[in-house]
Assembly symmetry: C2
Homo-oligomer: 365 residues x 2
DNA sequence: TTGAAAGCGCTACCAT
DNA sequence: ATGGTAGCGCTTTCAA
């Protein structure tokens, strides 16, 4: 039988309340007593019991906010599904979620939404947003109000956020590079399409991609670098123009898409490319449009980042922090998952005791 | 606030004890009362609260057994690490693990070990073994003794096991096929090396591999089919003989390895193959020797099955069944994970509230 | 067959 | 500043 708060109280000759105060920093305790309790707790290898804590937490009933972009390409839905799975999973412990989806990426709108959420009296917040001064400021304000916050999918470094839950963008880029080199394309000519030069994740992916090819000694030519603002139509137009602007023999045989806009790129490739597989398109994440073009053979594989897990884990870590006092790691990095047509479909189950894993569309958990 | 057993007791005009008896089938209850309680529970949408159950379960302190082969290639260590992570994770609820590793795959030894574990007075059992009559019989005996059992990694169908936790072998094979087709090998000649014709998993992988190539219209020639008994030295010898027996132009340019023995196959390919990458070797799982040959370029990628998750989940599902009365799904299928050199390394964290995820070597969760 | 009550470990509140 | 106690939801035991 493990050591309990009661054992410590007994050993220290104080009450359980006092031990609780010392170990969890609530209320005042005489320094000598506090010291003694701490020493005993450590000597006796005391570890708070989760079951006890969780049971007692029911009375409190936590509300956790979740902000995310309402961009309609399926990706954020997966994060959302993860968060909701966590909510169901933790509903036994009195957790409920307040979800706020904001259309688009407008900095002011996001900052505004953050402030609104801050006024809701929530116990904590998970946030998927853009890393710009406006949102950073809003996050700092929240921290000052004492609301713990987790940055999901996109980090907000040095804003006092509790933790970053998301992928290793450099690794996803490197993996794309590794995959590319396996394809054994003759005379590789690559067009790079990014969402925005301001988005760290996109830059890291491109960097990782180039890095690996250099390391492997794959000599390739970059035919161009397009910035599509994560917009499908713009991606279509720019890609089309690029393809038309070059003589057939200089046309890219692979298009690397670091951010959103895959649909547009693929459509352009379909209409103006040389064949079904030329140029190939190398995108990230598993969204409906990506699947469609994988089936058509235009996309050989896609590199994913477990959005479901990101949503799930963000809520879970926040819960553990709030209820258990467990500080989450600075970075909780999800896996870099390569998906082909053959391993696209995952099986559904009921993890964590009874809840749906909900891995239908998404990239994972 | 959710409905509790207390609410139901009140509504039904009985005590909480009676409700517990009805809902969990312990002791006798007058049929009409039982009926009423059941009806009310369903009407009021009663769901047992996990925190409460788990807290009460501490008194019981469950012991769970885990049997697995002690084959020394690193794969089973990952399953074990997963199981131990679950143990640490659930230690707050009084769970402890009794681990039994058995050298090799001898049916009688495994059956014997199962019987010994059955005599230990355990609450439940997770088993990674071979699916042969001897072990099946032992498992049936355990079921008759009322000991719930989960088949981990290798199913033991129709033995009354509670659940199968493992990969979809057909999918892993199909994914290997998909990957192979991406490699764009000219005039593919494939040598197939399997562990045993009696192992369903190996057969399914081969089937999946062939299936996909057929579907994709990749015409390839099979240069041979070797059975290496999952033995490295035998794999080496057979592969070597095969490579030497053919004229250079008929030699395989890819070796598909469905089971163990990758080390031997790679060594033979190294010594008798045409070059560093010819023949390529296409194996499964992520073990040290596989990594070594990935670095050398002999293995382009490996298809993994989340052994860590398998170990973790097996214990967790058994716990939820024993404590929460939650029946696990018939099949809990882990993901098919493609690993390249670039996404081999995963990040470590502390999941499930405080425990080490322990994802060093392994494939997962 | 049923009820009452103790207790799992922790938190929170009310006295002192 | 500290102790005592009720209670979170459930299981289990002892009486009746």
């Amino acid at each position: 039988m493990a050591v309990t708060i009661k054992d410590i109280a007994q050993a220290a000759g104080v009450s359980r309340g006092t031990v609780d105060r010392v170990l969890n920093g609530r209320g005042k305790v005489r320094p000598q007593v506090a010291e003694k309790v701490r020493r005993l707790a450590s000597e006796m290898n005391y570890l708070p019991n989760r079951a006890g804590r969780e049971l007692a937490a029911i009375k409190r009933s936590l509300r956790i906010g979740f902000l995310l972009p309402g961009v309609d390409n399926g990706f954020f839905e997966d994060i959302l599904r993860g968060a909701q799975a966590a909510e169901r999973n933790l509903s036994d412990f009195g957790v409920s979620l307040l979800i706020r989806q904001v259309k688009g990426y407008d900095p002011e709108t996001h900052a505004e939404a953050l402030r609104e959420l801050g006024a809701e009296g929530l116990s904590g917040l998970c946030v998927t947003t853009v890393d710009v001064p406006e949102t950073r400021r809003a996050v700092e304000e929240l921290r000052e109000k004492g609301i713990p916050l987790i940055a999901t999918n996109t980090d907000l470094p040095e804003t006092g956020r509790l933790s970053y839950v998301g992928c290793d963008y450099l690794q996803t880029g490197r993996t794309a590079g590794g995959l590319f080199s396996l394809l054994g394309i003759q005379e590789p000519r690559v067009l790079i399409v990014t969402g925005s030069k301001e988005i760290e994740g996109h830059n890291l992916r491109i960097q990782g991609f180039r890095e690996v090819l250099r390391e492997k000694g794959v000599s390739f030519h970059e035919t161009g670098f397009l910035v599509c603002q994560d917009d499908d139509r713009l991606a279509y137009r720019l890609t089309k123009e690029h393809l038309l602007s070059l003589p057939a023999e200089e046309t890219p045989n692979c298009i690397f898409v670091a951010g959103a806009g895959v649909g547009g790129v693929c459509r352009a490739a379909e209409e103006w490319g040389l064949s079904t597989r030329n140029p190939l398109v190398l995108p990230f994440d598993d969204i409906p449009i990506t699947r469609e073009y994988m089936r058509k053979g235009r996309i050989p594989a896609t590199i994913c980042q477990e959005p479901f897990e990101q949503g799930y884990r963000s809520v879970k870590l926040l819960f553990d922090y709030l209820v258990g006092g467990l500080r989450p790691p600075e970075h909780y990095i999800t896996r870099t998952v390569i998906k082909l047509l053959e391993n696209l479909e995952e099986h559904h189950h009921f993890p964590e005791g009874a809840e749906e894993r909900g891995e239908g569309t998404h990239a994972d958990p």
